[in-house]
Subunit: 228 residues, 2 copies
């Protein structure tokens, strides 16, 4: 399998965590979606990463990939399955996966990734330029609300969607990890959210994410610290 | 079952089409999400319609509802199932469902619904006011691109995702129907897209949508015309 991904893209990070948790090996291909390469648009006409190529099949988009991997490999990983089988629990995992992959992305993590990282690599005509401080302030205001909700979930459940680690935890942690690189997650404001993140961050699948750095823009010191 | 929906909300229309195609009866509850009613936020903390209430279970969001209905009722409807069973076909239906429910929504149908309809019902502090002509112009520019892609799909396949009617067709048609009320779909520019829409529009499930009107703001004459 090949995964077309983008540096610090929260959706790509989510899929990488899932692939690693499932013990599935995929080679990474870095794609800068703003280049709109024709070969990449042929894989995904929507022009966005991540895209998983599994043999002859192109699977575009974080949620579609998650469903595909569960249907293709979920039943083979036994207790490590990231999607529950009971109907109500599936609804809850999908609700939270969508919360982070859509709502949190548009309100927080896309703003931070675009303004602080991707714009550094874009030419002006591709949307590059200095960070928009208004967008970053909006993301920081929004993340406080999300963290409160996350903390409430973490307080009332063992994992975000229930008794077991699921796609919901990996999606949330992937998006937060991109923000956390810059110290943009106010962990001190919610102990429950912080403890939950410490547990996810300690998983072996997370190591590769914590090892990544942006040239010329080091992470805050707590980013890769498991006892942050 | 109860469906919390919003007038002319494309996601709500999609779910209503699905429920009707599956022969499932749900009572409609109109919810103005911008009111942020505490009782509604308890059903869906994201505060958005549609939410399907099935007994004790709250199922929020168009894609989550589609997956839930397929898993709960899809196997009982035989040939009328709107989600295929083969892996690659499921990827394609989900890709296009996401295309319309996420990409088309944010680039076109949400702009049109919000600027032309919902803002009429919002107070100023809820975001109400006159339509933003910049947003409407953006939606009209974007819809032309989407229609070309839709036309290409309709030309090369029997239905949007393949040989059979699927969630992809109903999602696309639901979003287009909201724009079509105002004559904002340039059908004359793509014969294939137009012929595909005429087929979906002729389905009995579509009748209830075509009968709906906005007080003081009638539809363009072609809206409910099956030979538009």
């Amino acid at each position: 399998m090949q995964l077309y991904h983008q540096f610090f893209c929260p959706h790509s990070r989510f899929v990488r965590l899932v692939l690693d948790e499932y013990g599935t090996d995929a080679s990474l291909v870095e794609e800068h979606e703003w280049k709109r390469r024709p070969e990449f648009l042929a894989l995904n006409p929507a022009g966005r990463v991540p895209v998983l190529v599994d043999g002859a099949l192109n699977v575009p988009g974080a949620n579609v990939i998650a469903e595909y991997l569960d249907e293709s490999y979920g039943s083979q990983v036994g207790d490590k399955r990231l999607m529950p089988t009971a109907s109500g629990e599936r609804v809850e995992v999908r609700r939270l996966m969508s919360w982070f992959n859509a709502k949190f992305f548009s309100e927080v993590s896309e703003l931070i990734a675009r303004e602080k990282i991707w714009k550094r690599y874009m030419r002006a005509e591709e949307g590059g330029g200095p960070p928009d401080s208004f967008a970053i302030r909006a993301a920081r205001a929004n993340i406080a609300e999300h963290l409160r909700y996350l903390g409430w979930l973490a307080k009332t459940r063992k994992w975000l969607a229930g008794e077991k680690l699921s796609y919901a935890d990996l999606a949330a942690a992937a998006h937060l990890s991109t923000c956390d690189y810059f110290g943009d997650v106010p962990w001190q404001e919610d102990e429950n959210a912080k403890n939950w993140y410490a547990r996810v961050k300690s998983r072996p699948s997370f190591r590769m994410l914590l090892a990544e750095t942006i040239p010329g823009l080091p992470a805050v010191s707590a980013y890769a610290d498991l006892d942050f």
